[in-house]
Symmetry: C3
Subunit: 348 residues, 3 copies
């Protein structure tokens, strides 16, 4: 494994092995991870263009438990702005090109993690809608960085995917289901006061697919995830013993579900707008909240969410405070899956 940029770059079997490793680490309990490689004197550089709690702390904590060190930079605040366009005439407000930044950070660190998501409205072009998404999904900064880095690069959330979340979800599904293969998993859209990016639901969908689950992607009409991700998830799910269907019928879809994973996201054709402008229609709010009534339709499903979650907007207090809620487990599994990724990338 050279980089960890998307779970799509790795086979379901390889990801399952990473999950094995993560759960073995977790079994060792708190404190130093004695069954992993010794990363003393190894340095993980973390570059956060966007805020973070779980991702940063899980990576730092994983590195520390393996004996190593992490350091986090926040570009544009701790540093200047970076340029990624080849051939750019840099007499504007960018001060450093990725052509230098990537090999330099790779020279100073042993691995580099990058979070860079444009939060719907970004991108170099002024184009909106599907064209904006088509541009942003290429994750040009991350990709160019990885190409130029001689050390492993970890995607800490880009426009298109959030593979660390995906791996943690695979570990959580394993814990919750024992054998997730063939069990019913629903990834359900929920309303949110701002339009949110699709990276996380992409990786969550793939996590269930790589686990071989029978997946329903449940969302209102118009809120499809990227077609290529849905296609890949379907193929991987089938190959692993599951399958994927897309539905907007919540009542039907929740029946028999063992896992309900909630997440809000914006419309792909709303990319290029601000998160506020692309706010989902208010009429979807009450219909899509995950409440006790919704959970009652399931086969006593576990409830998942990547966090942070807006209580009583995405899901009710009753759902989040019930014993079937796995959101804290899911978040703390970020630590163990980060450790598995780091051990695989940096261990001998």
């Amino acid at each position: 494994m050279r980089h960890f940029l998307s779970t799509l770059d790795h086979s379901s079997a390889d990801l399952a092995q990473l999950v094995d490793l993560a759960l073995r680490f977790k079994g060792g309990g708190r404190g130093p991870i004695r069954s992993g490689p010794d990363l003393r004197g190894r340095v993980l550089g973390l570059v956060f263009f966007n805020p973070s709690v779980r991702t940063r702390v899980s990576c730092e904590s994983a590195m520390a438990r393996l004996g190593g060190t992490a350091t986090a930079l926040s570009p544009g605040r701790d540093t200047w702005r970076f340029e990624e366009r080849p051939g750019a005439m840099m007499d504007g407000d960018t001060q450093e090109h990725i052509a230098e930044l990537a090999p330099v950070l790779a020279g100073l660190c042993d691995a580099v993690g990058i979070r860079k998501a444009e939060m719907m409205s970004g991108g170099n072009g002024a184009r909106g809608g599907a064209a904006a998404w088509d541009e942003l999904k290429r994750d040009t900064f991350l990709t160019a960085f990885a190409e130029r880095s001689e050390v492993p690069v970890i995607n800490l959330e880009s426009n298109s995917s959030h593979p660390c979340q995906g791996l943690a979800d695979m570990a959580t599904l394993r814990e919750l289901c024992g054998e997730p293969r063939g069990q019913r998993y629903v990834l359900t859209w929920a309303w949110h006061p701002k339009a949110l990016p699709v990276a996380t639901p992409h990786s969550q969908l793939l996590a269930a697919a790589d686990s071989g689950m029978r997946i329903t992607l449940l969302r209102p009409e118009g809120y499809d995830l990227a077609p290529e991700v849905i296609r890949a998830a379907g193929e991987r799910a089938e190959a692993a013993g599951g399958g994927l269907e897309v539905s907007s019928d919540r009542e039907l879809s929740l029946q028999g579900a063992k896992i309900v994973c909630a997440k809000s996201w914006g419309r792909l054709d709303a990319y290029g707008q601000s998160q506020e402008a692309a706010r989902p229609a208010d009429e979807l709010r009450e219909r899509w909240i995950v409440n006790e009534e919704a959970m009652a339709r399931t086969a006593d499903a576990h409830f998942m969410h990547c966090l942070p979650i807006r209580r009583n907007v995405i899901a009710t207090d009753a759902v989040l405070d019930s014993p079937r809620s796995a959101v804290v487990r899911q978040a703390t599994n970020r630590l163990w899956s980060a450790a598995a990724i780091l051990a695989s990338l940096l261990g001998e």
Copy 2:
């Protein structure tokens, strides 16, 4: 010891043992603390809602010297805003509830330190004056976090107390006085261009009380600390062989003092106002500065202040630069007392 939220949660004897440990660590000199527990692979998460120099660096340095790792988050800058109200409908500007944040950070870290002080004007209510203080003193975020955290929580300064400063002051009093019991300690108010919170003087008063000193709380009329803290300090001081009196007579109070600890704070009935609006009256300025004339009334007292200190406002250069000034000692004792707290909370 489960958490370290207020020195009031611990007996004077237990605090004295922590001071023993801190001074033993200090005696070992710079570099790794060899007489403490090995905290390799253990992670301290630090959450700073307010700025910090001494508190952050002392905790990080203590953790490093014990072999462990610390990581600091600044909510609202590195992260989003947090919600603490039970049952909140989170469709506003808070994005994560403490009901998730606390167990998640507790799952990623081995201990969590929190600095959250509203700096007079905060609070959820629009109520001012004593009502604002009555609300803020409950430290609802810290308390709710600790209740939901399975790992130790350390108060790095809340609205009501600053126990890390308190413990460091106890260590300093021990060093300066040998046996502080029965010696004269004056906590004197001083003027400051902005109204400051009462958390630190609360913990300083308690530090002298738990040390069994004969305390004078010296302040202008109207600048009382919280009555329940004065009461507790008096009881603890008496139980430990000292006592407490409150006075506004500076000339009399300074006589015979072995320790003069200066600190500015705002009126409790000014809580809910901005720090600027609650600025102490200018006429108090010259009368309450600690200068050579004031120190000359004492029994060659040592001068203490928690830092940062505004020179020539709280105390004059002559006082701060005199050999009787203990402010640097006091601040560096923050390192050793933090190490003692961490060793006690995290050591086997």
Copy 3:
């Protein structure tokens, strides 16, 4: 070696020994530096008044590879503002005096690194031009801090110098030239959309001087570096077997050069103005860019720049992407020279 504030404080021979050490560390490869001192439990405090990528990460990485820990503060953001004027009446917007800050940080850490550069326009006085520079070049904060610190202080870039860059450049010159003594080195000015400080070119000039190179300082009329630095560089270069001349004739100067180091800087008499107001004249832009045509005049010179570099402004893509570009090597040598500095300051 007590502090590392300027390469001028150390002899050329002592600096050469630091370079030896840096390259020996580099020869050991990635991971822990096994041939250095064990800095377990030792803490490096980093204080950044200005943004940083290379300096911060190289110091943190070096410390980690030596077994120690680093922590970075950003004053004015993580903390309040500091006062350095002796006798200041601190009732304004500074909240802590260096008289306390320095010994306190020295008490909490084992070494302190400080980056504080006023970026042309700063300074306490309202005086502009040469008077502003005469004030800023004294680096009063850094100097006062070092005087009051009982632990080593490292200059991470001040108004007058950037010795960590200087030492890394010496290491790079050694690698590129084998024996730099007597070889031709050109430090060439280049145009930049904002006026930049002179600290880095000062230290780069001294790096070539201490390496005994035959130096040309190449700049447009009016863009001289500080006369005392030019004088010192000339003397040290001569003593080490080289020499120094100043020129504005680019065609002539580049002939025979083995090293071309590009850097932009502002006029000394523009200090006290904003970086935008002091922007170099546009007519200098095309004449001073380092392009293939310029490099073709040299003796197949290596190209150096301290980074970050604005591509196609300071130098063209063709120069930066050519095999003769050493800019990434130069930046990653920051790690090894930082490790050498830390090992020398903190090792037994």
